[in-house]
Amino acid sequence: MYLDPDVSHAVKILVVGHFGVGKTTCIASLSEIEPLRTEEEITEASEGFDDLSGTPHKKTTTVAMDFGRLTLSDSLVLYLFGTPGQERFKEMWEELSRGALGALVLVDPERLHESFPVLDLVESFGLTYAIGVNHFEGTTDYPLDEVREALNLTADTPVAKCDVRDEGTSAQALITLVEHLMSQLG
């Protein structure tokens, strides 16, 4: 359960995506520990729907977040945080994105439009990212170029196919992101 006593560096990468895209499954495939869950309170503006008075007000919500851990050397540990991609969780993003190395954005090729708010958040927080196209065996295999085009990605944004249930392809998507981070650092 405990970290190696010499671990001096803990880094984090966010695994982001819309609801149901497979964030927790991906983290479970990669993590050396049973994924754990944190619960934290955020305040969110509840505009539009349940506000009859017409004045803006805020309410407190508890957000659950799953995460996993990967020890990478005697001194280095990586945490993967599954971060919900809704705009209303912006407050959580502020903290999570601080110090994050980058983000692996999981997308479902059948529901690409649901990934736009997620990409907006990732970009507004200035996170370097790669796309992991979750592909379940037996479903339509979309060419990655079509996914790239549909999501309006820049030419240098890496797109990797993965099956979030599978350690190997999930790890490859993560490695694709980290290689991209290296190239961004010049």
């Binding site: 944190t38 945080f81 502020e94 110090g99």
Partner: protein
């Protein structure tokens, strides 16, 4: 005080400000998800005078380092509460704290390269 089983329900029946002695939430960056904490060696004697929740945290990190996120995950305490408890414990010198290094380009390069190497070794890619 005898151990009354019905008193074990502290976390759900007692308001959160009681658990935390009325302390306010420290700023997020004080105890980030990836800040690592461990009980200091001479903490065992003092630990018995702590609140049940602080005691729970201390017992969890008695033998080694865990991240703040893991402390919250294992204890099922909300992250905000964990942060307040850790602030108190650190003030009382009961825990050791390793904070993440602030980001800077030259640090990043070294770190990212170590992350890449670690992932490749681990997954044989």
């Amino acid at each position: 005080m005898p151990d009354e089983p019905e008193l074990e329900l502290t976390s759900s029946l007692v308001p959160l400000f009681v658990i935390t002695n009325g302390r306010a939430l420290p700023p997020d960056h004080e105890y980030e998800h990836t800040t690592l904490v461990m009980a200091s060696q001479d903490a065992a004697a003092t630990a018995r005078t702590l609140s049940p929740e602080a005691g729970q945290v201390m017992a969890l990190i008695a033998e080694g380092f865990l991240s703040v996120a893991e402390v919250a995950g294992h204890t099922h305490l909300p992250l905000g509460i964990v942060r307040i408890l850790l602030a108190q414990l650190e003030e009382d010198s009961l825990i050791l704290v390793r904070r993440p290094i602030p980001r800077a380009e030259h640090v990043d390069r070294e770190l990212v390269s170590a992350v890449l190497e670690g992932l490749k070794n681990r997954f044989g890619a």
